[in-house]
């Protein structure tokens, strides 16, 4: 059991709030654990936006508990082969004592993986007595079926469903900070870096004390980040960071001929962009500048100015230098950040200001009324200019609308355009940066270049990923830890994987305060 760490306590790491596995993590974990590839059922509500700015699983109430009970019951049947592989005996030994021994072995083996840490003696006793009850009350159950019921039960245990720590002594310390024990740290690393439970090597590293040192953590983190599974996880985080939606369900004006398939293709293309960046330089700058696209949808290729493109998503398509540059000029971002009424600059500007510049936009004043309709006779810029003449709107919009104007070359689904209504597009803008400077840009391409070259963008990016890694909002004590992470990210010239390595070695990640604990 970890004791209070005086050195770390002085560094003031924050709390580690209890989170349940997200639906994405549940699916991945079931694959690791049972070798069954099944989607999370529709009956389990979708993940929701948490205070970290990233998704978390919905709180479990009746509906979730029932959905999980039914789903895990099915999985325990489908995954019976893998489940039985955790039992030290393949069939039931005739001898009762040997049979009990086998079941105890199963509880330890399967529990170790399901709970991502060794099962305690008390837990083992509880599960074993449940097994005895099953044998007594369900006479028709065979040995295998009884083990299956145990697995079903363990998959509904809070130790499986939540990112829980190791048990803390009831009479233990209540203030200061503790280092996460090796298994808890391994889980935290694995779910952040790979979106799933620790693999065998990481469990071994935890067991052998290799996660006790920064070097050991770095080594394991880099190993996990070299696995393709981590790319999928990084794609997920990227989409959530920018607030890129499930575009299959996006509601668009009829004139765009927007279809769920096109929406899906847009999101897929941005995922492939992230993947290709990770396969190449792996930096934030290349994410903001890359013109390489992988497209397997004719409508999307046409939208990018390549009608008749018949390639697949294995063939890189070079997008036009004069039209595209990186993730902010791709269809998925541009379509997500548009309103039904096509007042695009507001959402796009807010995204740049919030997700890349980390500027604080003051909340709208009392009595604030957002505009909600474009007069068809006016260009968007002209409409917003009139709206901004409203004194209460101008203060807020002075910060974020200009950044959005830089994207005026893209319509509501991200197609490139040079006229809006009757007017020639003017995508020039003066963008306010956190260092207090206001910088003129001619369009989103130039804005992307400025952002890619500015160290402040990396700092902002690191702040968002810090919240994601810790799965909570900021607290004042995080400041020092965040500074260190940003420094490391700068030192690694904006390499995204190295940012993740810096995050998992931060004291804010390896430790937690006890204030929120009992």
């Amino acid at each position: 059991m970890p004791g209070v760490d005086p050195t770390a306590s002085a560094l003031l790491p924050g709390p580690k709030p209890l989170r349940r596995l997200t639906n994405f993590e549940l699916k991945n974990t079931m694959w690791e654990l049972l070798a069954v590839d099944v989607p999370v059922p529709e009956t389990l509500p979708r993940d929701v936006l948490s205070e970290s700015g990233f998704s978390e699983g919905s709180v479990i109430s009746r509906l979730e508990a029932e959905a999980i009970m039914e789903w895990t019951g099915t999985l325990a049947q489908q995954g019976v082969a893998r489940i039985m592989a955790s039992a030290p005996c393949a069939t039931a030994p005739a001898d009762r004592a040997l049979q009990d021994e086998c079941v105890s072995g199963f509880i330890s083996n399967f529990g170790m993986r399901a709970f991502r840490r060794p099962v305690t003696a008390a837990e083992s006793t509880e599960f074993f007595s449940y097994y005895r009850d099953v044998l007594r009350t369900q006479q028709s159950y065979g040995f295998e079926q009884s083990i299956g019921v145990l697995a079903h039960l363990m998959l509904q245990s809070p130790r499986f469903l939540y990112h829980a720590g190791s048990p803390i002594a009831a009479m233990g310390p209540t203030s200061g900070a503790v280092r996460l024990d090796a298994y808890e740290l391994a889980s935290r690393m694995s779910y952040f870096l790979s979106g799933s439970m620790p693999d065998a090597s990481l469990f071994e590293a935890a067991l052998n004390g290799r996660l006790a040192s920064t070097e050991g953590i770095q080594q394991e983190a880099r190993r996990l980040l070299s696995d393709p599974q981590s790319k999928v996880q990084i794609e997920e985080i990227m989409l959530q960071w920018l607030g890129i939606e499930d575009l299959r369900k996006k509601i668009k004006d009829a004139r765009y001929s927007f279809t769920p398939e096109l929406g899906q293709a847009m999101v897929d293309e941005t995922r492939r962009l992230v993947e290709s960046v990770l396969d190449g330089e792996g930096t934030l700058a290349s994410l903001l500048l890359s013109r390489t696209a992988y497209v397997d949808n004719g409508a999307l290729a046409a939208l990018y100015g390549h009608p008749g493109f018949t390639g697949n998503n294995l063939t890189p398509l070079q997008l036009k230098e004069t039209e595209r540059s990186g993730i902010l000029t791709r269809a998925a971002f541009l379509t997500s950040k548009s309103l039904g009424s096509e007042l695009n600059p507001i959402k796009r500007g807010l995204a740049v200001v919030g997700k890349l510049l980390c500027l604080n936009v003051p909340p709208p004043p009392a009595g604030f009324v957002p505009p909600d309709h474009v007069d068809p006779g006016l260009s968007t810029r002209e409409f917003l200019k009139r709206h901004d003449a409203n004194a209460c709107a101008s203060a807020c919009h002075a910060i974020f609308t200009p950044a959005g104007f830089a994207f005026e070359n893209y319509d509501g689904v991200g197609a490139y355009r040079t006229v809006d209504g009757a007017e020639t597009i003017d995508a020039s803008a003066s963008v306010y940066f956190p260092d207090g400077t206001t910088r003129p840009v001619v369009n989103a391409l130039e804005l992307s270049q400025l952002l890619a070259a500015d160290a402040g963008t990396g700092d902002c990016f690191a702040d968002h990923w810090f919240r994601r890694a810790l799965r909570r909002r900021d607290i004042p004590n995080d400041e020092g830890h965040r500074r260190e992470v940003k420094q490391a990210f700068r030192g690694a010239t904006g390499n995204i994987r190295e940012l993740m390595v810096a995050l998992v070695t931060s004291t804010a990640f390896t430790h937690r305060s006890l204030e929120s604990a009992k």
Binding site: D47, S61, R159, P363, V369, H373
Partner: protein, 454 residues
């Protein structure tokens, strides 16, 4: 009975509910005659009424609705005037510090202080105590075991993204701090759960039920042990989970061997809970389920969310006049859109029609008793929105319908309630449901709303 059920009662303590949650005397036995049970339905829709349309002519105090004229978006309720208590806009004082009353969505049924959160574009507010439906249901649960404590329903809430992506924007009803109640949308699942039996023979069924029961019992105890190692905030999360397990166990205990509780309603096939266009048909199915569940005694408390706190990812394709615009934009009305007022009126008129249909359904079920002819007489329906108008007017338009066994004075517009805290209405709702309560959420605001009781 397992230990942890008592533990759940412990959890109810200190949640901001005043007065001991003790069972009342059995009314039926005391009067020596059949008294139909009382029931409450709480409905919420976002973005309020078109500006100036939530009114009834009159001065201070009560206004006789029979002589009043409703504005267009309330007009569908005109035939029900004698059953309504239209409460002048009240305040959700604990949401007054929020950016706007979208945040009242998660706050307004509890009256409790918000969990401390920083303000910002994506900030949201969650209550620190339970909502009134839960308080009433828990009290009923102490005196009468029903298959469901509550029946929480909702129509499709749109994608969980942007401002409508948070739990606080998607959950209006809470068992307590950190314990949002997830509503059910799927009518087929509801029918299966609530009414339909199973093909299993008696022996297999009994065994399956025994297995399920012992599993739930184990999980309940397991969650308790797990919770004991956690800090207070995390314990709220587990308390929600524990309540969920407990509710499943309750249902299992109460459903008869055949699993059939009553006559299930007929639901048309092919409804898609993801398709916004199916919203009216989904609601009709849920309305039928709700009525059948009440009739069968499945529960006494139901909730219904017609939308999330903003409606930013919802359009209303079944109302083509709204032109595919999203609900939140429509709610802001005519400020920048000359058609806005009409669109908002179109939407809210539709909502009022659904309210009328619900009343129609309740009034179609005979339920004779000392204070009743139909089920509606033994019900109270709360028809609530989180803001007076879609332009963030910071007050709550709440209409009550039904006399709830003779408790409410209906047929009135209660002008004197204007700007009083909504908390008083919780006390009325509790008393109407025979639940002793002095206050909910805020001990400084006690007692019922003057003028509401008959």
């Amino acid at each position: 009975m397992s230990k942890w059920i008592i533990r759940r009662r412990d959890l109810l303590r200190g949640m901001g509910a005043g007065a001991a949650l003790l069972p009342l005397l059995n009314v039926r036995a005391a009067r020596g005659q059949v008294v139909p049970p009382k029931r409450v339905i709480m409905c919420v829709f976002p973005n309020g009424y078109p500006s100036g349309q939530y009114t009834a002519t009159g001065n201070n105090g009560a206004v006789d609705l029979s002589t009043a004229t409703f504005a267009a978006s309330l007009a569908p309720l005109s035939p029900w005037k004698d059953q309504l208590a239209v409460v002048a806009p009240v305040k959700c004082i604990n949401a007054d510090d929020a950016e706007d009353y979208h945040r009242a969505y998660s706050m307004m049924f509890s009256g409790a202080a918000p969990v401390s959160k920083p303000l910002g574009p994506s900030s949201v507010w969650a209550p620190t105590g339970p909502t009134i439906d839960q308080v009433i249901a828990n009290n009923i649960d102490l005196r009468e075991k029903l298959p469901r404590r509550t029946l929480p329903l909702a129509l499709p809430l749109g994608e969980p993204e942007g401002v409508d992506g948070t739990l606080e924007a998607r959950r209006a009803f809470w068992a307590g701090q950190g314990q949002p109640i997830t509503p059910e949308i799927d009518p087929y699942k509801l029918v299966k759960d609530l009414f339909v039996g199973t093909a299993m023979d008696d022996v297999a069924l009994t065994q399956a039920r025994a297995g399920r029961r012992s599993m739930l019992d184990f999980l309940g105890r397991d969650l308790e042990r797990f919770s004991a190692q956690l800090g207070t905030e995390d314990q709220f999360t587990v308390a929600s989970h524990l309540q969920g397990i407990r509710d499943l166990e309750l249902q299992l205990q109460q459903i008869g061997t055949g699993g059939i509780l009553g006559e299930p309603p007929t639901i048309p096939t092919g409804l898609n809970i993801q398709a916004l266009n199916d919203t009216p048909a989904l609601w009709e199915a849920q309305r039928q389920i709700l009525l059948a569940a009440f009739r069968a005694g499945v529960t006494r408390v139901a909730t219904m969310q017609f939308g999330p706190a903003w409606g930013d990812k919802l359009n209303l394709p079944w109302l083509p006049a709204t032109g595919g615009r999203v609900w939140h934009e429509i709610g802001h009305g005519p400020t920048d859109n000359p058609q806005g007022q009409d669109d908002h009126q179109t939407v809210v008129t539709w909502y009022s029609q659904q309210f009328a249909k619900l009343l129609e359904g309740l009034a179609s079920i005979p339920e004779p008793g000392p204070n009743s002819v139909t089920m509606l007489d033994n019900c109270v329906v709360v028809w609530a929105s989180n803001m007076l108008s879609g332009d963030h007017d910071p007050s709550l338009p709440w209409i009550l319908a039904g006399k709830c066994g003779g408790y409410f004075k209906t047929g009135q517009y209660l002008a004197s309630a204007a700007n009083k805290p909504v908390n008083h209405l919780f006390v009325d709702l509790a008393h109407a449901m025979d639940v002793p309560l002095d206050f909910l959420g805020n001990p400084d605001i006690r007692g019922p709303m003057p003028g509401l009781k008959a």
